[in-house]
């Protein structure tokens, strides 16, 4: 283990190097470009065994990844925003064919208007594609998560997206600890594909037409396998903790003991909120933080158990559902808690769209709001657009 200084992108590229995948097919896009740019240097210098396919679009990037994965290779790519949107069609195909491809992703808003900065609308827009989603709070976590995600993906045949926040994490230098190459290789093990289109002894038809008579059973089986991801993830995360000393639960609690209210947030904002929690705790206020790290599959029981104990919860959504009902995390959180006997009052704060900065004071204000909700038992405003001009 050694300590290095790396940006989120550098950390993810370094994890990819230590994973040393068979094939990386990728296309540049701000702010994720650096991941493949750095990785192509590793290829050019012979530091990895990877066949790097510099494709002509993200659609072809994921299409080539699908081909390489069906051929039995360990496969990764990287993208962001419009790139993920262009991959959208193939996301479903990769998952439906049970291909454990891993995407190192940087969360960026979707056009229009065009913008290169952070929000979570890209991955939230792909949350039904059958991929595992992990949202990272810092560069260390981005590095660690790619390795854990690959292990989980290959154990379950479910592909994975690991994401960082555009610029806030992707381009910010942080101190992190990296493992030795051999430790990473031992942890992930040799890839043993379940099938290969290069297996000439057992010719098969991959991706056949599947009609009304069988499609539903195959989808049901995929959904069933998806439900096994959480356990596989937890095992991988615990094994990784033994190796690295860093444990990442699917749902992280921060100073929730004795807390009456909590913010439920993902990504870098959750780390920022920890500062606010520390300050408010010093003032004796009963506030805590729950960090949503895994959002697919939904760690339903963990979220219910964790959030169920608060009087009020503020969900922080860095995207909107365009349903005129707030953000996706808000909607799904309310859905998960609907049957709970003990459940908090839940409000939503849609914030930070297009990279709008979120200040410590903004987060402190959210705590003020939910304390009031907890105290009065009444929600004055269900959905707040936080930090946008013209709104309170």
């Amino acid at each position: 283990m050694k300590t290095v200084a790396k940006t989120g992108n550098e950390a993810m590229a370094y994890a990819m190097k230590q994973i040393n995948p068979d094939v990386v097919a990728a296309y540049p896009i701000t702010p994720a470009t650096e991941v493949v740019q750095i990785f192509s240097n590793y290829v050019a210098d012979g530091e990895v065994d990877t066949e790097f396919v510099a494709v002509e679009s993200e659609h072809s990037a994921l299409s080539a990844c699908v081909g390489a994965s069906i051929a039995g290779g360990r496969v990764m790519t990287s993208t962001s925003s419009q790139g993920l949107a262009l991959m959208h069609e193939i996301l479903y195909i990769a998952a439906g064919n049970r291909l454990p491809i891993v995407i190192a992703l940087v969360n960026r808003s979707l056009s229009a208007p065009i913008n290169i900065h952070c929000d979570h609308s890209d991955t939230m827009g792909s949350r039904e594609a059958g991929w595992m989603h992990l949202y990272c709070a810092n560069s260390q976590e981005a590095y660690d998560s790619l390795i854990i995600a690959l292990k989980t993906a290959e154990a379950t045949a479910v592909p994975a997206i690991v994401s960082t926040d555009a610029f806030i994490l992707s381009h910010a230098m942080e101190r992190l600890e990296v493992l030795e190459y051999s430790d990473v290789q031992n942890f992930i093990g040799e890839y043993k594909p379940r099938f290969s289109a290069l297996d000439l002894e057992n010719p098969k038809t991959y991706g056949p037409l599947d009609l009304q008579d069988y499609f539903f059973e195959h989808k049901r089986a995929q959904i069933d396998d998806f439900s096994k991801v959480l356990d596989a993830y937890d095992k991988a995360a615990k094994d990784y903790a033994e190796l690295s000393g860093r444990y990442y639960p699917a749902v992280e609690e921060y100073k929730t003991e004795g807390a009456e209210v909590a913010i439920f947030a993902a990504g870098s904002t959750a780390d920022t909120a920890k500062e606010v929690v520390d300050d408010l705790r010093e003032q004796g206020r009963k506030v805590g933080l729950v960090r949503m790290r895994m959002w697919r599959p939904l760690p339903v029981e963990q979220i219910k158990a964790t959030l169920g104990k608060f009087k009020a919860v503020a969900v922080m959504d860095r995207s909107d559902t365009m349903a005129d009902f707030g953000g996706p995390v808000f909607l799904e959180t309310r859905g998960m808690l609907y049957d709970s006997e003990e459940k908090p009052l839940i409000t939503d704060y849609v914030y930070g769209l297009g990279g709008r900065n979120i200040e410590l004071t903004d987060i402190a204000r959210v705590y003020d709001d939910i304390e009031q909700v907890a105290n009065t038992g009444k929600i004055e405003k269900l959905i707040t657009y936080l930090g946008v001009r013209g709104e309170k």
Binding site: V23, T50, V55, E56, S60, S63, G67, A71, L200, Y214
Partner: protein, 310 residues
């Protein structure tokens, strides 16, 4: 080159029992291409389209080789990935055999929605043969016009109406677009001239780099002709100069079939319902224009051959 006798003894890559129409030109093309690929290990990719849906209905498959279907527009990109994985797994000693790769797509999946993926794959020099089974429209969805649809052809989205007589535009010349990429080999073929197609596939697979064959593959319901006429129409397309058989390699063109006396284009058109409206009174000029354009393009091709011959 394999003889007909040798070919008859080879194991078929695509076998019968699939759901393609009687007289399907597309399945004849694929069958011949896979026969020509021979006994060498071959892995195949295919775009969404007639040939994919007719041959892979779960739990059945008509394919004796490994077949990968991904989506509509990405046959070339998918096989790029397979070929990339093959290279690295071979380097690592995990694959022992020499494997050849063939990507199939219809004209919709190649001329139109898959053009970018094809262009990218050739530019990156993946060693694969891309075969377009060109039946000149979106036949799988019910005969809609594509950029491969010929001038004046009636399709369901370029219908021959009272004001507009079918498709108003000339077809895109995909073979020339591919040649502009400087591939290892490119050709046009059609299954009616099957030994020509076999020879071209052998040549394409032996070439050191990406290769492409555009195979005019008549479609019984889309073109509107009796199902026993596929081979005849395939041949007429060549004999009328509608679909010249030629190949390109190392910068040189070679026309493989020069009819001593080309047949008039109407011989090809009149057998097909998609051109029926051209024979109504008042539409004579359209046939003349069509013929003139075919002649002009043939002359351009002759000049290219002459200019590039050694």
């Amino acid at each position: 080159m394999a003889t007909l006798k040798e070919l008859s003894k080879r194991k078929e890559g695509l076998v019968g029992g699939h759901r393609a129409c009687a007289g399907c030109g597309g399945s004849a093309t694929i069958r011949q291409v896979l026969l020509a690929a021979g006994d060498k290990p071959t892995v195949v990719g295919i775009a969404t389209g007639c040939m994919e849906v007719a041959t892979t209905i779960f739990p059945y498959t008509a394919w004796n080789v490994n077949l990968v279907h991904n989506a509509f527009e990405n046959s070339a990109a998918t096989v790029s990935g397979i070929e990339a994985a093959y290279k690295v797994l071979k380097r690592k000693g995990k694959i022992k055999d020499d494997i050849q790769f063939i990507a199939f797509g219809g004209d919709g999946g190649t001329y139109d929605i898959g053009l970018q993926a094809l262009s990218g794959a050739i530019e990156r020099r993946h060693k694969m043969l891309y075969v377009c089974y060109d039946n000149e429209a979106y036949m799988n969805t019910g005969y809609q016009r594509s950029s491969a649809t010929p001038y004046c052809a009636h399709t369901t989205t370029s219908p021959a109406g009272t004001k507009i007589p079918g498709k108003a535009q000339w077809r895109k010349d995909l073979t020339e677009i591919v040649i502009a990429h400087d591939p290892a080999y490119a050709a046009q073929a059609t299954p009616g001239y099957y030994m020509d197609l076999i020879r071209k596939v052998e040549k394409a697979l032996a070439a050191d780099g990406p290769s492409f064959i555009n195979v005019l593959s008549p479609c019984v319901p889309g073109w509107g002709y009796p199902s026993d006429q596929t081979v005849n129409i395939s041949k007429l397309a060549v004999e009328t100069l509608f679909w010249p058989l030629y190949e390109w390699q190392d910068g040189s063109y070679k026309i493989n079939m020069k009819p001593r006396e080309p047949k008039p284009l109407v011989d090809f058109l009149k057998l097909q319902a998609r051109f029926r409206h051209l024979f109504k009174p008042g539409n004579e000029h359209l046939v003349e224009e069509f013929q003139a354009k075919v002649n002009r393009r043939w002359e351009v091709l002759l000049r290219k051959e002459q200019a590039t011959s050694a």
